[in-house]
Structures are given as C-alpha cells and as structure tokens.
Amino acid sequence: MVARGAANVWWVFDRKRQIVGRDNVIRSGIETDPKKARAIAKKAAHHMAIVVVESLRSTDFLSDEDTTDHLVLDIKPDVLAVMQDPEQSLIIASGHFGNWEVAGHWVSRFKPVAGITRAMNNPLIESMVKKRKSRFQFRPIPKHDSNMGRFLEVLDNKEFLALLFDQHAGDYGMMIDFFGHPASTFKTPAMLHLVTRTPLCFASCRRIGPMKFEISTSNLIHQPRSGNKNEDLKGILDSLNRDLEAAIRKDPTQYLWGHRRWRD
C-alpha cells in the first residue's frame, strides 16, 4: 500500500518519465494505443516500488529450505548442472524485469553471487537493503567500483556474476535490436563469455502472485568463436535481447519502461 502510494506520487510529478515510459511501450509494439500504453507504463512504475518492498519481505521465505509456496522454478538442466558444480562459475545475464533481487538471492543458495548495485536514494531503505543482503551470499559491487578486475575475481573464485545488460550502454555498447529497434547494448557479459569461456545464461524472475515468483533461465548460450568478434558478440547479444523480450511479453507491466533505452 505504501509502495503503491509512493509510486503514485512519483508518477504524478515525474511527467518526463511518464512520457518516456508510454513512448517506449508504443515503440516496442506491445501496445499501440497511447492510453493503454500509458496504463502499462504506470503499472510498471508501481511494479518498481513493489520490487523494493518484496525484496525486503522475501528474506524469510528465501531463507527456508522449502520455497515451493513462493517460487516456481524453470531452471534448464544444463544451467542447473553448472550452478551445482563447485568447480564452475556462471555469468547470469538479466534485465530490469520482474524482481531480479529475489532471483539473485535465491541463486545465492548455491554459491556466492556478485552483482553491480546502485545505492537507493532513500538512506533508510538503503540501510534496510544492505542489512538484508548481508544475510545471503550476495556480494554487491558498487556501481562506481565496478570494473573488469572485480568481475574476473568473481569468476576466478568459481562464483556467480549477475549482470543486468539492458540499460543504454553508450559508446562501449553494441547496437543490437531490442523489440525491432537498435539499442546500445552492454557487451560485458558476452565478452566475458567469449574470452574466459565461462558459461553464460539468461535468467528472469516474474511475479505470478503476491510474494510468488517464477524464476526461469535459458539454456546455456553456446556461441562458437568464429574468428569474427563482432559477429560472435552480435550472436550472443541478439540471443539475450530475444530472451528478455520474451520475458517482458509475458507481463509488460513488470518492466522498467521509464529508462531511455533507445536514444536515436
């Protein structure tokens, strides 16, 4: 209730995000009617506020051995085998869809997970989030301190590296179609996979009911090295974007439409 209220206030005052969100929904082709697109973007704004509350409240059930009341799992066998292998690390690529925090904490039951985190604007919420994260094997890498050395250390330790790849990547990115329109996409998960040979998969965590989620993964992404770096990168990033699009289509109201992914 509080989360929805805060999201409503934010929605009313942040007109710029309203427009970006609505226009992104239309551009994706998920909805062409501006009023319906705006409704999706508004629900998505609510969703982001709910993500914070859910993440804080999910601590208890994520600590339980039996999570069947809260989690439906669709982890592909090849991915599960890597997760359970103490000798293997894994790059988990995902987007700002559903509740990626819940997924990150669930997967940390296998081995430590490192991911880039951005501090919450509200110091009280930030303190609660930090306290909660410390209960799991989650190792936050502050955004300002995220660099390749940290990522390689995680992989070298045979841990999981969780990367959200769906924000505007600027000059370092590669232009890859997202819902049919070119978007600068982070190359990091793909380059790490190609150079270190660490297994890579896509994962998402969709809310399917109150405090109930479906965590699913793709199969491991196999991109044989062709000798053409850009072709190899494109193959992987295309695959990741298609997986993310498919997840979003299942419930467009759980995606961060307010981000300016397309900059042309």
Partner: protein, 85 residues
C-alpha cells in the same frame, strides 16, 4: 628466430590488431615496448576485445586477470612469449 626478431614480430602483430580496433589515435611513431596500455586507449573493458583479437591473430590464449595487471606493451609482449607466442 632470435628473441629480438620474435619480439618485433609480436609488436607488429599487436600494432595491426590495435590499428583495426582502436577507437583512439595512439602515438604510432613511438609505438613500442615502452608504450603504456593507457596510451593505447585500452581500459579494463576494451582489454577483453584485445584478448579476443590476440587469440585469433596470434593464437595464444591469455588469462584476462594476468593482462589486467600489465602497464606497458613490453610486459604484454613478454607475457605472450611466456605463453608460447
């Protein structure tokens, strides 16, 4: 092949790779062992691109974490020779 000839060959290969992939304009006139990684426009993100190209062009797989610690082209050449280039 003498050590010097081997080094020169590798430096030439690295130059070709960087000429094709670099998005900056390194000082090619002074390109050599003493060139710093930074002056070649490489950072921790683009170094992975370089590693991919090295493996394809020179045929040597380098551990990324080892390469992150080097500061000059000369150190990279030494690492490549140590790994069989």
């Amino acid at each position: 092949m003498s050590d010097t000839a081997k080094e020169e060959k590798i430096i030439g290969q690295l130059r070709r790779i960087l000429e094709e992939s670099s998005t900056t304009e390194p000082d090619w006139d002074n390109f050599g062992r003493n060139s710093t990684i930074e002056s070649l426009g490489l950072d921790s993100l683009t170094i992975l691109d370089l590693l991919y190209d090295i493996e394809e062009e020179i045929g040597v797989h380098l551990e990324a974490k080892e390469v992150l610690n080097i500061t000059t082209l000369g150190e990279l050449v030494d690492l490549l020779i140590k790994n069989g280039a």
